[in-house]
């Protein structure tokens, strides 16, 4: 066939629309976002009888009002892109409510094909639907489908394409429903006015526009405003009729319109379309039985905690294996490139800046994938809605919504999550205010990147109670998120709670394909965002920690000493260990003072050791050589931009017990929290130290008199609470729609973390 046909897929959430979309498009689909908003934009192609069909998956909606982003998007796509055919996927078991959307689509005039989905389940419920009758009453094609097993999908597509061809080139024919004696006359007048003025008629049918004015539809009022007089006139009419209804019937146009729409539907269905044999066992009854246990007063919350714990366990036990592979791969890459490239800045950039930076983030991909897979399972099975249901009462107290649970959990509510997908998960929240509160507090959770830092510090200072301390940190994350949210919601983001009128879908076994697609979509978003931003940031960070370099003068004493030791190694053979220890201790002491003094110290060491040359053994000499290299890199770091920043921050951070090296690590942690451990490693002059091989760094910290329990705890809490990593900040910007809130989260969280850390350190040091 000639022209490409575009089909838009509409339908209620939980109607099997996504399953249908997956079945139709298979692997030929891609996901994005509608420009400027965070609603998923899914598109794909299918081939029907040699005809290429472009399929747009509209967001799932119950209606075409404009209260949610999803509804606005669905409506705009239909009005602006004018698909050749709209396929409305209905849950046959809840036909009446599902037809509510269909009727609105017909009122818009869109060419429509209905897919009566989940017919198998509807039949099991004892429901009989006369498809022929429904088809002739509505005057549009109706096809029975079972999307989960692919039944009827070919027929659906063929019917839709055929119908689209019939309708091609013809004007849209909006359905006209009577809205009763109160509204019909006004509607007619408004329609006359709209038609005469050509008001928005290029996008919508006149009667649809009039209805939207009566419904007080914000989006339509906004679009209409610039037209001036016509819009004002329509608004006046709508207000008049609204006041009239209020006075006479104590109702309002919106309610009347909804009632008439449902009235139209039930009058259709009553004409022998649907019959129910109520005594049959149905799937909802099974769901009810499961709910009696799964949402039981006592058992429900326990099962929920158990499941969350299980997710954590599975993620870490299974995810660790491929994570190990990735780590070895990046380790191998690091080695190979190190060997292949000549020493110098470029090598340092590629190895430390790029491979390690990106590798650190990519290492988490398997964990994130496994977690997403399980969360997709819980979502698709219908359990997540129950979690929101069970926790709503608690969350509402803190100014959040039951649906905030998900973003919190994904962000690291079960330690080991990641705030980037967590923040993205907040898009299921409808209310901008609750969503904002969730976005700003989700980064307090103990995400996977913070874990290496916790493991390091906890391992050194709380070796006896590791698990307990880790658990307390996770709880501290939750407590902070809830309390700060309460604070924000009662100050700068005040507002009424959003309704919790939510569907509790029946429990069902998710399809394998659906799970894979869901998991892959989210994982890919993580890889893409993290990959690009982290790459840039780790290069910047490398620059900050490398430049400016030490001058030749500053390098001279170290180099001289190195040369001497090298010469000594060649000549030496003695076994005086104490002398070497003394030298090492002196070098260590040197680390406490500034760069220049240290350089002098190195010189003194040279003199001291010259006397003991013959008695020093090879091993001690080599050890010393390492010490000198460490001292040199420390002096270099101190001199670099990052070092200077770290030192400059000391007057403030000393109140929380952090010294300059910790500061560098924390500043680096803004790029990605994983960086904290490796930066600490570098800062403590130990070169490459990653989370897995943190032992030497741990020893170093354990032996450093500067570190006490007080600043260990203050550091733990600071890392838990301070600014979200850069990728998360970008995600917050995207979800909140402005840089303002992203910057707010950075500044506010850091200030909050600082207050907590200072309080803890000061109390702990008493």
């Amino acid at each position: 066939m000639s022209k490409k046909i575009t089909i838009a897929l509409a339908g209620n959430p939980n109607s099997g629309k996504t399953t249908a979309f997956n079945a139709i498009t298979g692997a030929r689909q891609h996901v994005g976002n509608y420009p400027g908003i965070t609603v998923d934009k899914k598109e794909g192609t299918a081939v029907v009888d040699g005809q290429t069909v472009h399929v747009i998956d509209l967001p799932g909606t119950y209606s075409l009002s404009a209260y949610t982003m999803e509804e606005v998007v669905a409506r705009n796509v239909i009005a602006d892109e004018r698909p050749d055919m709209v396929v409305d996927v209905l849950n046959a078991g809840a036909l009446e409510r599902n037809l509510y959307l269909a009727v609105q689509l017909m009122e818009m005039g869109a060419p429509l094909t209905l897919a009566l989905n989940m017919m198998d389940e509807a039949k099991k419920q004892g429901m009989r639907i006369d498809v022929q009758k429904l088809q002739s009453l509505l005057g549009i094609p109706v096809v029975e489908t079972v999307a989960r097993v692919g039944e009827g999908m070919d027929n659906l597509m063929r019917t839709a394409v055929e119908h689209a061809r019939e309708k091609a080139g013809k004007p849209w024919e909006p359905l006209i429903i009577s809205y009763g004696s109160d509204l019909d006359p006004v509607l007619d007048e408004m329609v006359a006015l709209i038609s005469k003025e050509q008001f928005l008629t290029d996008r919508y049918p006149a009667r649809w526009v009039a209805l939207k004015y009566l419904e007080n539809d914000e989006e339509m009022l906004r679009i209409g405003k610039p037209f001036g007089a016509v819009a004002t006139e329509l608004e006046t009419r709508a207000r008049e009729v609204s006041e009239h209804l209020e006075a006479t019937l104590k109702t309002y146009p919106e309610a009347v319109i909804a009632d008439y729409r449902y009235g139209y539907i039930s009058s259709l269905l009553r004409q022998g379309v649907v019959s129910r044999l109520n005594d049959l066992e149905n799937r909802l009854a099974t769901s009810d039985k499961m709910d009696q246990v799964l949402t039981h007063r006592m058992l429900g919350p326990m099962i929920m905690l158990g499941l969350l714990f299980l997710i954590y366990q599975i993620t870490f036990t299974i995810g660790e294996v491929p994570m190990g592979w990735l780590e070895s791969f990046f380790g191998w890459l690091n080695e190979t490139v190190s060997e292949a490239m000549p020493d110098g800045l470029l090598k340092s950039l590629v190895v430390s800046g790029i491979i390690d930076g990106v590798g650190g983030v990519m290492g988490f991909v398997p964990l994130i994938m496994f977690m997403f897979l399980q969360i997709a399972f819980l979502e698709d099975s219908g359990y997540m809605a129950r979690v929101a249901y069970m926790l709503d009462r608690v969350f509402r107290f803190f100014g959040l919504h039951g649906c905030s649970v998900m973003p919190f959990i994904v962000s690291g509510g079960i330690a080991g999550g990641c705030a980037v997908p967590g923040v993205m998960a907040a898009r299921t929240l409808r209310s901008p205010k609750e969503k904002l509160a969730t976005l700003l507090t989700a980064p307090f959770m103990a995400c996977g990147a913070k874990l290496p830092v916790f493991l390091l510090i906890v391992g050194v200072f709380f070796a006896e109670n590791q698990a307990l301390v880790m658990f307390l940190l996770t709880l501290a994350g939750w407590a902070s998120a809830l309390l700060v949210s309460k604070l924000l919601r009662s100050t700068i983001i005040k507002g009424e709670p959003t309704p919790f009128v939510m569907e509790l879908p029946p429990y069902r076994v998710p399809t394998f394909r659906g799970l894979l697609i869901h998991t892959w979509e989210r994982t890919w978003q993580y890889i893409k965002k993290a990959g690009t931003v982290i790459l840039a940031i780790s290069i910047l960070l490398w620059l900050a920690m490398t430049f400016p370099q030490l001058s030749d003068e500053q390098m001279a004493p170290f180099e001289a000493r190195q040369a001497e030791i090298a010469a000594l190694i060649e000549a030496a053979g003695g076994t005086d260990v104490p002398a070497a220890d003394e030298a090492a201790a002196a070098t260590e002491a040197g680390a406490e003072v500034s760069g220049e003094e240290q350089a002098e110290e190195a010189g003194v060491l040279v003199a001291e050791n010259e006397a003991a040359v013959s008695e020093v053994d090879m091993e001690a000499l080599e050890e010393e050589l390492t010490e000198i290299e460490n001292a040199m890199s420390e002096a270099g770091l101190r001199n670099s931009v990052a070092g200077r920043v770290g030192i400059a921050l000391e007057p403030v951070t000393k109140w929380a017990g952090f010294e300059w090296r910790t500061n560098i690590a924390l500043v680096g942690g803004f790029a990605a929290k994983e960086v904290i451990v490796s930066t600490l490693g570098t800062a403590y002059s130990l070169g490459e130290v990653d989370a897995e091989e943190a032992q030497p760094l741990a020893e170093r910290i354990a032996n450093d008199p500067h570190w006490t329990h007080a600043n260990a705890v203050s550091l733990l809490l600071f890392v838990l609470l301070y600014a979200p990593c850069f990728v998360t900040v970008v995600a917050i910007k995207q979800e909140a729609g402005s840089w303002g809130w992203a910057i707010f989260s950075t500044v506010f969280n850091t200030a909050f973390a600082m207050v907590v850390a200072v309080a803890v350190y000061q109390i702990g040091s008493l």
Binding site: D288, F500, V501
Partner: protein
């Protein structure tokens, strides 16, 4: 003669028919979009662990809503 009571007062397991929906604005629209309209039959199938929200069965699907949202709806006990 059956009694008309606020939805909040309905016990778990009790069936009723919706009489009026008084909610305006977003809540009103959400309630209607979800099929909670005068004439619809509902049954309370459960309450969350803290007694709020409540799970409601309508023909073919289950909804949840909070007690203070249920206050906008009156039902006739069947």
């Amino acid at each position: 003669m059956s009694t008309v009571i606020p939805l909040r007062k309905l016990q778990v397991g009790q069936k009723a028919r919706i009489q009026t929906v008084m909610a305006h604005g977003e809540l009103g629209r959400r309630i209607r979009d979800m099929g909670l309209i005068p004439g619809a039959e509902v049954e309370v199938t459960g309450r969350a662990p803290l007694q709020d929200p409540v799970a409601l069965r309508l023909t073919g699907f289950t909804l949840s809503l909070r007690n203070n949202e249920a206050d906008y709806i009156t039902v006739e006990v069947l």
